[in-house]
């Protein structure tokens, strides 16, 4: 068994940012464990630009954004292991890592979970119909085109207006596929407004809101899909079915934090974020196990992933030097708030609160209250579920539970 200070599970944007910041804070006994051949995580296949506007003030491609951190990791000489899979994490932080060289067990003082997220699939949605080839999640199609140089589609319908779905609408169009339309079950787009503009509008790809796929046809390659309108409860309206022939259905219907290893470690999850329940130090319910980035909650901008991981690194450095107690004070979601991160706090320390609203809203104020006192406030001209909101909150020691709500 090998001892070390921090083992980071996953060398994507969150893991890389955490490693760099930890190293800069004087924690050098680190190992990044990455399952792919190279560092960078999902950014490796995101060859479009728009990354880094917040963080670096310029528009970078995914690989360029990742490279900024990877170069820093290499400059600093931070140890990392690629082609290495974590197969187990125990509650007392024993981490099993498998590579072609063998199986190794580490005993780090702190474990940082930065595994990212996975895509919701056709099976998870239980879309009725047959099971032909040609039904891909947006990320799989993106990997095939951008990493594997394989063309998975010719005549495409996209279900879900998630960001990757819209980005793939553009990407597939540029590579010569015909993208007929994007259908979204919600009455508003689920991805960022800039992607609706730059990926759909600019290419004349229609976006149909309040529509969904209600049947998949074909027993070999996909032959077509049935599209139906949905009512305000998102239920298909009988009689509105329309058949559209296509050879590919791309799904961009949501991302789910990849928490199998977290559950394995005994970490408690928040049913709303599907990520770990954490306090303002990003410590999970298992002492010494921390989480940040998309494994904690799905972000819309990688810049925020990096920032969150850096805040985590600061907390982990402090945990290693002086230790601290876990949070016990609840942060409650009030009117208009779908979720918050953190979900609990230790009290007394200022922190950055991340949250999402339940529906699109205009001219509202997000308010954090503690025992009647306002401890954080953010005015918003427009609040969208697709856009994560971040605000500074300064709680009072011993003032009890925090409530976050949206006021008109």
């Amino acid at each position: 068994m090998e001892k070390l200070d921090v083992l980071i599970v996953g060398g994507g944007p969150a893991g890389l940012a955490a490693a760099v910041r930890l190293y800069e804070a004087g924690v050098h006994d680190i190992l990044i464990v990455e399952r792919e051949k190279t560092l960078g995580g999902i950014l490796r296949q995101c060859i479009h630009d728009g990354f880094g506007l917040t963080r670096f003030g310029e528009s970078l491609s995914g690989p360029e954004y990742a490279a900024r951190f990877i170069c820093r990791v290499k400059e600093l000489g931070i140890p990392y292991s690629t082609d290495a899979a974590v197969t187990e994490i125990t509650e007392d932080r024993k981490v099993t890592v498998v590579t072609r060289e063998g199986l190794k067990v580490y005993a780090p003082r702190a474990v940082v979970l930065t595994m990212g997220c996975r895509e919701r699939t056709r099976g998870a949605l239980a879309i009725p119909g047959e099971r032909p080839a040609g039904v891909y999640t947006a990320g799989v199609a993106q990997a095939y085109i951008n990493i594997y140089n394989r063309m998975p589609a010719k005549n495409v319908i996209i279900l879900g207006s998630g960001d990757i779905g819209m980005i793939m609408a553009r990407r597939l169009t540029l590579e010569g596929a015909k993208v007929q339309a994007v259908y979204e079950v919600l009455p508003y787009p689920s991805g960022l407004p800039r992607n609706v503009l730059q990926c759909l509008d600019d290419y004349g790809i229609p976006l149909y809101l309040s529509h969904t796929v209600t049947c998949i046809h074909g027993d070999r390659r996909l032959e077509g899909v049935t599209i139906s309108k949905v009512d305000e409860h998102l239920r298909p309206i009988p009689g509105t079915e329309e058949y559209h022939s296509c050879d590919t259905l791309i799904l961009s219907v949501g991302l789910i934090p990849e928490n199998e290893l977290s559950l394995n470690a005994g970490v408690q999850l928040d049913p709303k974020t599907k990520g770990a329940l954490v306090d303002e130090h990003y410590e999970t319910t298992v002492p010494g196990v921390f989480a940040a980035g998309n494994v904690l909650h799905v972000h819309d901008l990688v810049d925020f992933v990096s920032q969150e991981a850096e805040a985590l690194a600061k907390a982990v450095a402090r945990y290693l030097s002086e230790g601290f107690d876990g949070g016990t004070i609840d942060v409650r979601c009030g009117t208009g708030v779908r979720y918050t991160v953190p979900q609990r706090i230790t009290g007394g320390e200022a922190f950055t609160l991340s949250l999402r609203v339940t529906a699109p809203m205009k001219d509202v104020t997000v308010v954090a209250c503690q025992g009647g006192a306002v401890i954080g406030k953010k005015r918003m001209k427009k609040a969208l579920p697709a856009e994560m909101i971040r605000m500074q909150v300064t709680p009072q020691q011993g003032a009890g539970e925090v409530e976050v709500r949206v006021d008109a």
């Binding site: 498998v98 060289e101 699939t121 239980a126 010719k154 070999r220 390659r221 559950l263």
Partner: protein, 490 residues
């Protein structure tokens, strides 16, 4: 024409593969023709995967007799061929006095057939065995169990292949004629000939029966829709949970697979189209509701896949479902084994059916023993099922065991390679899936399918556009994005 065989088996479902395997005990030249690109692709791979206890059939029926026999020998067969089988028992849960009386009747009938290990258990015992189940009491069938239907069919086929049986895929039989002492069998691709022919065509049993001149069988189709749920839940259900059966429908079950997934189904609806495997929304809604009445500890968020299977049932003119039909009609079609209406419990009974029909064949012709017959098939060693020490040892012996390709099911490169180079020569993506479990987890191949299609290209020398998902024509890719692209690391 292909070479002339002693026996041609039509249909590579579990029964056809069991017959192939059991026949390979004799010195015979045997071929199996399958219209799909892999074995077990229709009824055999699309069911609940339950090894039935044999209590639910008519006294004196073949279904009862061969189910009991199949159940009795399942442990030995599973061990010889290394496929997952667990004699975990199953319960039929009830709530009312009427249910109670009906279950007592099930026990009486089961015992009349010869089924063993059937007892009533009270609510306390039921909840001790299956926490959270809804029911006031249950009938427990100790001898029932669960098995992996894909692995079982593949294992039988691989052992048959090892013992000399030739498998031909993509060969749908379109015509059979008799020429002197042999049958000439046509497919769109080839012509085959054999002295003996076995109709184990499952859903096509009526069609093949007609081709043999054995007309008049009415085959009806019953379609079952299922929902497969996350492995997290399967751990909490130690055995299949059934409701009290009616005379025509076994009722919905909440079952656990040998891989620990929870399974909801089936729906059981008559259908005209024996080739349509689409799942309907109304059935998904029904399964959700019905399962909630039995074991209400899942959510729709736990769904990972839906599927559908179709059973061929032999019915009389009034639509009453008949027994398994297993016959050799010497004056119409000599040396033709005709199997009609092999539905549930065909999976449990498959090896017993095989032995029974081979007995019928041997009454008509002496088959010399195959002294080289090897009953053992070593399955792929699964990384996920090894202890940490075994994993370390496996990687030392073969570093491919240290490369995880499918993360959520922990399937390594070593296992994928073995699946790609399988003894049957199957090169589909689902062929890899059913042999290894890669792509069967909650991300449904989101992480590993690109790696697997690339390995299929590399190992089988296939172009991207030749990668086939499951059936013929289920093309996955349309070629390269850029001809001159850099083929570097991914």
């Amino acid at each position: 024409m292909k070479e002339v065989f002693d026996v041609i088996i039509i249909g590579g479902g579990v029964v056809g593969c069991a017959i192939a395997r059991e026949l390979s005990r004799y010195r015979l030249k045997i071929a199996l023709l399958e219209k799909n690109l892999d074995v077990g692709y229709e009824t055999s791979g699309r069911n609940t995967g339950v090894c039935h206890g044999g209590f639910a059939y008519d006294v004196g029926s073949w279904k009862a007799k061969l189910c009991l026999e199949g159940n009795r020998i399942m442990g030995d067969v599973a061990q010889e061929l290394s496929f997952p089988f667990k004699r975990c028992g199953k319960v039929l849960v009830g709530n009312t006095q009427e249910d109670y009386d009906r279950l007592l009747e099930v026990i009486r009938q089961g015992e009349a057939i010869g089924a063993k290990g059937l007892t009533m258990i009270d609510g306390e015992e039921l909840h001790r065995r299956i926490p959270g189940v809804i029911g006031n009491f249950a009938m427990l069938s100790e001898n029932s169990g669960i098995l992996d239907p894909f692995q079982m069919t593949i294992a039988l086929a691989e052992n048959a292949a090892r013992n000399g049986v030739s498998f031909f895929f993509g060969q749908e039989v379109t015509g059979i004629r008799r020429e002197e002492d042999r049958y000439v069998i046509e497919t769109p691709r080839d012509t085959f000939a054999a002295r003996w022919v076995v109709n184990s065509a499952g859903l096509a049993c009526g069609k093949i029966s007609d081709m043999l001149g054995l007309r008049g069988y009415r085959v009806i189709y019953s379609k079952d829709d299922y929902i497969l749920l996350d492995q997290r839940l399967g751990r909490e259900v130690p055995m299949p949970i059934y409701t009290v059966p009616s005379n025509t429908y076994m009722g919905i079950h909440v079952t656990v697979t040998t891989d620990g997934n929870l399974l909801l189904g089936p729906t059981a609806e008559d259908t005209e189209n024996s080739a349509y495997y689409g799942v309907e929304q109304k059935n998904l809604d029904f399964l959700y509701k019905a399962a909630m009445d039995i074991w209400p500890h899942f959510t729709k968020g736990d769904y990972i896949r839906t599927y559908s299977g179709i059973l061929p049932k032999w019915a009389d003119d009034e639509g009453r479902i008949q027994d398994f039909k297993m016959e050799i009609v010497d004056d119409v079609a000599p040396r033709a084994v005709n199997l009609v209406g092999i539905e549930s419990p065909g999976l449990t009974a498959s090896v017993a059916i095989a032995r029974h029909v081979i007995g019928m064949m041997r009454e008509r012709e002496a088959f010399p023993e195959n002294a080289d017959f090897d009953p053992i098939r070593k399955g792929t060693r699964r990384f996920a099922e090894m202890t940490a020490e075994e994993q370390a040892q496996a990687i030392r012996e073969n570093p491919d065991y240290g490369e995880l390709i499918c993360r959520c099911q922990k399937v390594t490169r070593a296992e994928i390679l073995q699946a790609i180079h399988n003894p049957l020569g199957v090169h589909t993506v689902t062929g890899v899936k059913y042999r290894t479990r890669a792509m069967m987890g909650r991300c449904q191949g989101g992480y590993c399918q690109m790696r697997i299609t690339r390995m299929l290209e590399e190992e089988c020398g296939l172009a991207p556009q030749e990668i086939t998902y499951a059936r013929e024509g289920s093309q996955m890719l349309y070629g390269l994005v850029r001809e001159e692209a850099y083929h570097g690391e991914a």
